[in-house]
Amino acid sequence: MNSGSLGKTYADGAIIVRQGDSGDCMFAIQKGQIEVVRRGKDGDVRVAVLEEGEIFGEMAIFEREARSATVRALGEVRVLTVDKKTFLRRVQEDPSLAFNLVRMMSRRIRRLSGEIAELQPGGVARSQDTLALTDAERRIERRNRTDRRVTKDRRSGGNRRRDAERRGAVAASPSPA
């Protein structure tokens, strides 16, 4: 590592933040990229890729909840830790310190809103840019997933029927008594 590098260097694939852990800091990416992965029922889903200059883990500063996602290094990455204490001590003296964070979170919500609006029936409900899903957005996402499953089931049911018709199986089978 360069002697002038600030922060801590993580190797490719190293976990910086683990979903479910408690957190008392946020991170500023000094160099490289990280991926944000959320563990769900269907396995891991990449919800964001963030790069130099961006901040992650800020939800732990504002909420006393466990980390909502796992953050991994994509290639070698250098990350600076920002203590909750340092941030909160200063932000109560200078509330404008939160401007940049609010602006960044606002950008993420805007992108997310755009993606939700652009979702087509049967499309993939996955955000590439955001960590922060509000409760309302989570509900929309769950509903979309349910809708897609129903649509998919209907389609797959129709396909099976059409395949069977093509093979003449339906026409040849005797109707149940």
């Binding site: 801590k8 600076l80 203590d83 200063r90």
Partner: protein, 471 residues
């Protein structure tokens, strides 16, 4: 806030929009702001003024007067300072979206080594992460390595230029009022009038004396002479002898308040603060065994360059007036530590006041002065803390106890690092002095210190007596 009840003027006069006052002094669309000095205070002021004005939809122009070219090596491009960006400031800047690249940071500092005549001890950063930046204020010492580095001051000045500030490469030589507005005169005879003037000259500028007028109530800060020099050691020697640690010396030398050796690229910066540092004090310091032990073959090399800058040790009186504000060193500063952090705090408070409150004396008193007052109050506590530090410097039995307590804390990973965290923040300037003082009120602190004082002195004497008896 009731914008509908206001006239057309108030639509483009943001401060009166917030303050609900007619005819007050405030920035408006098209306002011109002058900044004297392009060091950190001036650049931070311009940067935050633009950012805040932009978020409020206000269109302004800012001229920063800075004759020095910070990309020149040696004194011509230097702002004469130790060049340490504190741990807390590095974090706050990152939160603001201002990251310091490796071209600017000469070395990331991850620990402190405390040197005393009774031993030395290393204090690790709590997260074992490089969070203190050793920087050059200019472009390095004379005949240094100007290849791929950028000074901290130049980095910030470039940053303010990217958000819209205009850099005027002229020396400001005069100040006057023009129909109630501040007017400045440059060395080439040009005059310029501004709605608001920010003075960010530091304490080593001639122009500061001209602003010491009874009409404005401003009195320049009290200063002390410091000593800063650069030793050329080379990367390999620095890695081997100093590492990524800042070396702090608690030595019993009269008039010495604070001494630190800061490793950078190929150089190490020595910074001495005290009661008017002179040749005699410097010689005593460099001749001490603890200092010599930091260099190969215990030989202190000849400095590549040195300077005796004055530093702010007593706040300026009323660093604000109608349409004029003093930020950074020329106003209020933290005592002995984190000068760049003070520049950030006062410059941002001044910018915030100018955009969201107004630019009259009353506005600065309401919006800017509380930030300065907080620093001044904290400096009172700092004098007490540095008084205790001086006591430790003077009394060997105290040094033994403190050193033992730190060594034990650093050795036991799970232990609550009370003394280590106190000294870490005193040396790094990362936390307010009030918070540091309160930490010493922890019930375990005096007990542990007393035990370590006894153990370090009495047990030592006992052992020494036993050895003598055996002989």
């Amino acid at each position: 806030m009731r914008p509908t009840a206001r006239g057309a003027r108030q639509q483009d006069n943001l401060a009166s929009y917030f303050e609900e006052q007619e005819g007050q002094l405030a920035l408006a669309d098209g306002s011109r702001i002058g900044v004297i000095g392009g060091g950190p205070a001036g650049s931070f002021f311009a940067y935050f003024l633009f950012r805040m004005a932009e978020s409020a939809g206000l269109h302004i122009s800012v001229d920063i007067y800075e004759p020095r070219l910070f990309d020149r090596c040696g004194p011509a491009g230097c702002n004469h300072c130790g060049g340490v960006v504190s741990e807390s400031l590095v974090q706050l800047l990152a939160t603001e979206g201002i990251n310091l690249p490796p071209t600017v940071v000469q070395r990331g500092i991850e620990s402190y080594v405390l040197h005393t005549d009774v031993g030395q001890v290393q204090i690790e950063t709590p997260l074992q992460e490089m969070r203190i930046a050793a920087v050059y204020r200019g472009n390095g010492p004379k005949q240094s390595e100007p290849v791929a580095i950028a000074g901290f001051d130049r980095h910030l000045l470039d940053l303010s230029a990217t958000v819209g500030a205009k850099i005027v490469r002229k020396l400001v030589t005069g100040f006057d009022w023009n129909h109630g507005m501040p007017q400045i005169r440059t060395a080439d005879g040009d005059m310029a009038t501004y709605e608001l003037l920010a003075v960010a000259t530091g304490v080593n500028s001639q122009i500061l004396e001209q602003l010491n007028s009874p009409a404005m109530d401003y009195q320049s800060p009290g200063t002390l002479r410091a000593f800063i020099c650069e030793f050329h050691l080379g990367q390999a020697t620095i890695r081997q002898w100093l590492g990524n640690s800042m070396h702090v010396f608690l030595l019993d030398i009269p008039r010495l308040e604070f001494a630190a050796l800061i490793p950078k690229g190929d150089y190490a910066t020595l910074c001495l603060l005290g009661e008017d540092v002179d040749e005699q004090l410097i010689e005593s310091f460099l001749a001490s065994d603890e200092v010599k032990a930091c260099f190969p073959d215990t030989l202190v090399p000849t400095p590549a360059c040195h300077c005796f800058p004055r530093i702010n040790v007593r706040a300026a009186v009323r660093p604000f007036a109608d349409r004029i504000v003093w930020v950074g060193d020329s106003g209020v500063n933290r005592l002995f530590k984190d000068g760049i952090g003070s520049a950030y705090r006062t410059a941002k408070a001044a910018a915030r006041t100018a955009v969201f409150h107004g630019i009259s004396k009353a506005d600065f008193e309401k919006g800017f002065w509380p930030e300065c007052r907080a620093l001044i109050r904290d400096n009172r506590i700092a004098r007490l803390i540095f008084g205790v530090t001086t006591l430790i410097q003077n009394l060997r039995f105290l040094r033994r106890g403190v050193l033992r307590m730190i060594a034990r804390e650093q050795r036991d990973a799970g232990k609550n690092r009370l003394m280590s965290s106190v000294l870490w923040d005193v040396f790094t300037g990362s936390a307010p002095y009030k918070e540091i003082l309160l930490r010493t009120f922890h019930p375990v602190f005096p007990l542990r210190l007393t035990w370590n004082l006894l153990a370090a002195n009495l047990l030592r004497t006992e052992r020494k007596g036993m050895k003598e008896g055996a002989r």
